[in-house]
Subunit: 441 residues, 2 copies
């Protein structure tokens, strides 16, 4: 019942994900063709690499004439119908994607930084040339959250997202929790296992997850978001003390993306280490897994869970986008990729966002410390639900100790003002460390 | 940037879900239009009801001239571009869907029984008239599992599904577990809360979930499946004793759909009460929520969790399908609905499927009972991992007691043969009750 139509793919980048796409099409190409009305055969006809002479011992099945080091040759090859961008970065990748759109060749990309930083320009090009950009692989690897928000929840106003969308930091926090490792030890382990990059900065400083959160928010609320407008902090400040406290209070510590639309239409968007109730299903997301909870006004609460990275899961998303892009080829009207539908919207300043807080101070242990800090908090009308100074069993008379305060819900800006004063106290030795306590109704 | 195009919807059925679709389009119609390239406006232009004169006090905003009791008038109305079937059943619903396909009007339905029982005929009509049937609302309400399998996982061989896809039975099992209720008490509660129908047969006998499992398997493996070929048992045999044992052994009792492709291409498909490890994320699916775990050869393990029923969640899925159906209108080539891509496949007979088991016998309490049962199991080469007879604290000398055996993995057929012999023992008073113990790697 299928008459085969062959679609030429230009694959820019042949690293982990790129070679995963090759493998998946080799393994399941026939199955994909059977499953598509019209029998679409996806065929990789060009591959952009940095070095033609690099050994590709694990990919001896790739005909060498497919490789090129010239991206123009790939984008302009008449046999290339769809361009897959997997080289990363925001400069060459931008040029390749822009050129493909101008040539009316649909683009599939997994490049979250590119879309979060330069999405406004690229979506404008997509609209101008009526050619879609698909980017399922850019957020949460093998979890089809982009398509879910864009298509399945199209009838919903999205009330909120809460997501664990960086596997490396989730692994690190998990090992600190389960094995009592320090941040540095857990990071070393993640690197040894290949979960973290040699330079793990974007993973641990929160920005990898923040780029993904920006894309989710753009999809849900329809306007491009400037990364400068959002508040991001990573897990590099998390200490065993914090993990210990969280556990004893019935919380898990997670690097959580929170996106929420408020009554006035403004969008709260932040990425921070957070205490979440152990009973919440997100607390059960372990290791390098990712999960995104979505609350739609019709669908209610949903959760999407799976592998957030890795060769095959990410390739799975690229291939799904390729089938989607192939479907749109030759269709007369309206492309199926995402386009912002509002010029702009309001990102709520982080100072206006309210939660409860866990705050850790590094203090000189002497009588009166709690009173001095509590007085400042009271003056700023911030309620205290608990305070504790753990005794160091190895050194019960240590001069410097951690002092922990649990604070009632207030705007972050109000807390920041109070903390500026606390920091100026002579008994406080460094900047306080703040984590959100999320209720996650 | 959007020039509006209005799409006429014929809504067959205005019960819970049908009126939910109306509400959702009233509330979010403008947003949906903004989000669709081309500005699709979905407009309900005809509504099929049983009784024109029934009071619809909560829907006074529906113009009365939209209502009709004649489905021909709805399907044949030139203003109707897409037909939504929400009347349920497999007779009139079949006629309506078939007539719509013949008129080349795309169909959106939430009718799992119709597609599971008569899908072969309807998919053939869909192919013949190149007109899609969309059925996201038929499986797991607001969870977009159909689209996920069909589109997002199109590059994956689906290795397995494990799903909790009947909210009513999950609620009942949860209340038996958490509040110590009997099956009858928990069912009564579910009915009082409106979770279970007045006739809850399809919920508790497993067939509501089985229809959904048939659709998932058909999607994943591409061939229509005869409901007669699959093994279904419900939760009506679950007793507090079973719940107690499961808990003490570290398991949760769930009505689990298991679908798995074996090496030889045969498909295991069954629906039974099962013990699953408490550590598995499916054990955390509480109340009326649904969840489907999918294992793809590329995507790896994923889980999709959300509201499996209810007015708004199901309407959310209907609306997503309406947008999809609207997109396909006027497209020249290949419809985007599901079509089986194989004539037939092999469903593995349940006798060949292997797991470990929990078996409960109602026995006369006298010395030698365990020995007699154990001897028969040994003759059938079935290993015993544990056996227990709980003492009834209210009646420690009761003549009739429950006797529980935990059995090692063996084919179900082998177990059934042994149990036939056990049942013939004069100390065994009724048919043994068998639950699966699932390892859920």
């Amino acid at each position: 019942m299928n008459s085969c139509s062959s679609i030429g793919i230009g694959l820019a980048g042949f690293g982990t994900v790129g070679s995963g796409v090759w493998n998946t099409l080799q393994r399941n190409g026939k199955l994909i063709s059977e499953r598509t009305a019209g029998g679409t055969l996806l065929e990789i006809v060009r591959i952009l690499v940095r070095d033609l002479h690099k050994s590709r011992a694990t990919h001896e099945d790739v005909p060498t004439e497919l490789f090129t080091t010239d991206w123009h040759a790939l984008v302009n090859d008449p046999a290339v119908d769809i361009v897959v961008e997997l080289i990363g970065g925001t400069t060459d990748a931008f040029e390749i994607v822009a050129a493909a759109l101008r040539a009316k060749k649909p683009v599939v990309t997994g490049n979250k930084a590119l879309l979060a930083e330069r999405g406004r320009e690229l979506f404008a090009l997509s609209l101008e040339h009526d050619t879609p950009i698909h980017f399922e692989a850019a957020v949460a690897g093998g979890i089809p959250i982009i398509r879910t928000v864009q298509d399945s929840f199209i009838g919903n106003r999205i009330l909120s997202f809460s997501g664990i969308i960086n596997g490396t930091s989730n692994y690190i926090l998990g090992r600190m929790t389960d094995a009592g490792l320090t941040f540095e030890e857990a990071l070393g382990e993640a690197q040894a296992l290949g979960y973290a990059e040699a330079d793990p900065a974007l993973d641990v400083n929160g920005w990898d997850a923040a780029h993904k959160a920006i894309l989710l928010a753009t999809l849900a609320y329809g306007f491009p978001i400037d990364p400068k407008e959002i508040h991001v902090s990573g897990i590099d400040q998390v200490r065993p003390t914090d993990i210990h406290f969280a556990k004893s209070l019935g919380y898990a510590v997670k690097l959580l993306a929170v996106i929420r639309e408020h009554e006035d239409g403004s969008v709260e968007l932040r990425l921070q280490p957070s205490f979440i109730p152990k009973s919440n299903i997100l607390a059960s997301v372990h290791g390098v897994f990712n999960a995104v909870a979505v609350h739609g006004d019709a669908a209610g609460e949903s959760l999407f869970y799976g592998r957030g990275a890795g060769q095959d899961p990410t390739a799975s998303s690229v291939v799904a986008d390729l089938v989607e892009a192939a479907r749109s080829l030759g269709q007369a009207s309206g492309h199926r990729g995402f386009l912002p539908y509002r010029e702009s919207g309001r990102i709520m300043p982080v100072s206006e966002t309210s939660t409860a807080y866990y705050v850790r101070f590094d203090v000189t242990d002497r009588p009166g410390v709690i009173a001095e800090i509590a007085k400042i908090l009271a003056e700023h009308r911030i309620g205290i639900s608990g305070t504790h100074s753990p005794v160091n069993p190895n050194n019960p008379d240590a001069a410097f100790v951690d002092m922990v305060f649990l604070l009632h819900t207030c705007p972050f800006g109000q807390l920041q003002e109070a903390l500026l004063e606390v920091k100026a106290l002579d008994c406080v030795n460094s900047s306080p460390v703040v984590f959100r306590i999320e209720s996650l109704s």
